[in-house]
């Protein structure tokens, strides 16, 4: 009894020894918190660096330099043979219109070489631009109208400040005379930066100023559609079978281990498999979203199976027992109760798997989706490319103007990924159930 009262005495609580121990405990706790905070800080700093870097390089891809010029829609150029059919209008030489316009704007340029440089300040895409205007409004023929023509990539880069003036001419892509022409137009107020719709509405091009990501976006869409259509039903059905019906024996253990292994297989291996199986053996069309989608489906399948199994397992047994106790068959139990309750989790896993597939490049290189494709794919068997491969292609291009295109495309891809992951989080929040 005396021992007890001793223990409870003030001295025992506040002895020097205890104080030291307590102090040490608090110190370790503080140190651990600092470590954790530090780790988070480093991770965030890396993320911010990435975003700042890409955004600072990429935001200028969303604007485009244009020159305002008085284009004379000369009948003799558009109808050289007097043929006024729509086909003739389509086939007319709009390049000549532009050349005439530029000559009229800068009458003092006479030497052949200088002329060639002069014609080069306007994009090759400008003739397409004029054709579109004429096709839409043939009444414009014969008039002289001010048109904002797309500038060439070098002029665009110069206008955006990527090519500095104070460099020796020999080391500069934009020569002194071109700067003179630019300044002349700028002084007239004929230089403008406008929102670059072309970037979002056109396919790839050799000319950076008119290259766009729409083709890649459509390709990505078709590819993901195929991936989803194949991997979702197969994945969910496999998960249901494995969780609700399959006996637990060595065979199903082996299947489980292999599904987990499959999720860890490098994606390039799936690409090689896709090439061997779908192209060489089945002779499906090369470079098509169909084959890309099937290949990515192989890759996404294990992710969907694993996440679907986890969310099916999370449905409490009491629900299954309730249904079975009422005389529901196992299939009815699975499809009336377990599947609907696990669907939010399955969808979350599926979206995460698909966003992974959206960012995948390597397997698609193997099946030829890396080809240079200008046309927008019209269906799943058309040759196509996808966003990450487009980024890869542009990153590999030598023109200075493709740098901003690359970063711009990355920004678009990232925003899709962020959107999809946010959707997954939202789904989980909304339908999360506590038992």
């Amino acid at each position: 009894m005396t021992d007890m009262s001793d223990l409870k005495s003030e001295n025992q609580w506040m002895s020097e020894e205890r104080k030291a121990l307590l102090g040490k405990r608090h110190r370790t706790e503080r140190r651990f918190k600092m470590l954790g905070l530090g780790a988070i800080f480093i991770a965030l700093a890396m993320l911010v660096t990435l975003f700042v870097n890409i955004t600072s390089k990429g935001y200028s891809a969303f604007v485009q330099t244009r020159f305002e010029m008085n284009v004379t829609f000369d009948e003799t150029v558009i109808y050289p043979n007097g043929d006024r059919s729509a086909q003739a209008i389509r086939g007319a030489s709009y390049g000549n219109l532009i050349r005439n316009t530029l000559r009229a704007e800068f009458p003092d340029v006479e030497k052949r070489r200088d002329l060639r440089s002069l014609f080069g300040i306007v994009s090759k895409g400008a003739s397409r631009q004029l054709r579109k205007i004429v096709m839409e409004k043939p009444s414009i023929i014969g008039t002289t109208t001010a048109i904002w023509l797309i500038a060439s990539d070098d002029m665009d880069m110069f206008n955006k400040g990527y090519i500095p003036r104070n460099v020796v001419e020999a080391d500069r892509r934009v020569k002194d005379k071109e700067i003179k022409w630019f300044d002349h137009l700028d002084a007239k107020g004929s230089v403008q930066k406008v929102f670059n719709w072309d970037f979002f509405s056109s396919g790839d091009s050799r000319e950076p100023e008119i290259a766009g990501i729409w083709g890649a976006m459509v390709g990505s869409f078709y590819t993901l559609l195929i991936t989803f259509a194949i991997s979702f039903p197969i994945g969910v059905m496999s998960a249901i079978y494995l969780e609700e019906f399959a006996p637990k024996n060595r065979f199903t253990d082996i299947i489980e281990v292999n599904i987990n292994n499959l999720a860890a297989v490098p994606s390039i291996v799936f690409g090689l498999l896709g090439m061997g199986l779908f192209l060489n053996l089945a002779h499906l069309p090369r470079s098509a979203s169909l084959v890309g989608g099937i290949t990515l489906a192989l890759m996404t399948l294990p992710i969907i199976i694993i996440s679907a199994r986890a969310s099916i397992r999370a449905v409490p047994d009491s629900i299954r027992q309730a249904a079975l106790g009422l005389g529901a068959s196992r299939q009815q139990t699975a499809f009336h109760h377990v599947l609907p309750l696990s669907m939010p989790g399955i969808l979350t896993g599926t979206i995460i798997g698909l966003s992974q597939a959206l960012g995948e490049t390597a397997p698609l290189l193997m099946i030829g989706m890396v080809a240079f494709i200008v046309d927008i794919p019209g269906n799943i068997t058309d040759p196509a490319t996808v966003l990450p491969v487009q980024i890869f292609l542009w990153a590999d291009s030598p023109e200075r103007a493709f740098v901003e295109k690359t970063s711009g495309a990355i920004l678009v891809l990232l925003s899709f990924l962020v959107f999809m992951n946010a959707l997954a989080v939202l789904l989980r929040r909304k339908f999360e159930r506590r038992w």
Partner: protein, 266 residues
């Protein structure tokens, strides 16, 4: 002649025992959970199964509607007949069996759907209602029988999980009744409920006795004594003693029963 004999035979069995278990043994993989249990369960009575934890009473209960089939590695030996029919015969479909032998579980487990859907689910999968009106009728009658209708009449579309624990358990009973079973198995239906909710559920069980045969597993000896007519005492996978409830609780023959009901072990 044979048919008459069968009918007569069945009638005798109906009068005597609706469920008859003979030398039932249950194994979970290698482990034996029940050892040669024989028990007759009389019709339209409440039979209580009591005994300490792990004695096999729930296992026995789950044999009666073949819920043990869903447990991996479970094996049942012996003969169990319901109304003279061997329920483990290959020709018997366990889905139909479970419709006739309903079950109420320890923890209230309504589906996370509306109250109406909870009750309507059983009749729907068994095709008991030809149209919406008939289904409405079954749902309302079942809720009425479970004594829940007055409490939920104006919120049939709110979710079953929003009810209180006792109401949830009565909803589960209504859900079982909606399939129109003859027999209802109850696995400690009140162990998760407070005393007031327990009293209500007990009252309900007593009312149901008129039309249903009820087998209830319980840990509460007072509950067994209050509501059952027949009690079986399980111990270590065997039935130690079975008899009329009054007799078993007042003058047990076996010393182990005596020990359990006086609270010396278990």
């Amino acid at each position: 002649m044979q048919m008459i004999a069968e009918i007569v035979n069945q009638e005798i069995q109906v009068n005597k025992a609706i469920i008859s278990a003979k030398e039932v043994s249950v194994f979970y993989r290698e482990k034996q959970a029940l050892n040669s249990v024989s028990l007759d369960i009389p019709e339209n009575q409440i039979t209580a199964l009591i005994g300490p934890s792990g004695c096999g009473k729930s296992t026995f209960l789950r044999c009666l509607n073949r819920m043990n089939d869903t447990v991996e590695g479970c094996r049942v030996e012996g003969l169990i007949t319901v109304e003279g029919q061997d329920i483990y015969a290959p020709s018997v479909d366990e889905v139909l069996l479970r419709a006739r032998v309903g079950m109420v579980f320890q923890k209230p487990n309504p589906f996370p759907k509306s109250i109406y859907e909870n009750v309507a689910y059983g009749p729907r999968i068994h095709g008991l209602a030809r149209n919406k009106d008939e289904l409405d009728d079954i749902v309302l009658t079942s809720l009425e029988k479970a004594g829940l209708l007055n409490e939920v009449r104006d919120r049939l579309n709110s979710t079953g999980t929003s009810l209180s624990g006792g109401q949830q358990q009565r909803l589960c009973i209504a859900r079982a009744l909606a399939v129109q079973p003859d027999i209802i198995l109850m696995d400690e239906p009140c162990s998760a409920l407070d005393p007031i909710a327990t009293a209500k559920v007990e009252e309900l069980i007593e009312e149901l006795r008129e039309n249903y045969t009820i087998i209830i597993v319980t840990h509460s000896m007072q509950q067994a004594a209050r509501i059952s007519q027949k009690t079986a005492f399980f111990h270590l996978g065997e039935i130690v003693e079975v008899g009329d409830t009054d007799q078993l609780f007042t003058s047990p023959k076996d010393s182990r029963t005596q020990g359990y009901i006086t609270g010396r072990f278990g």
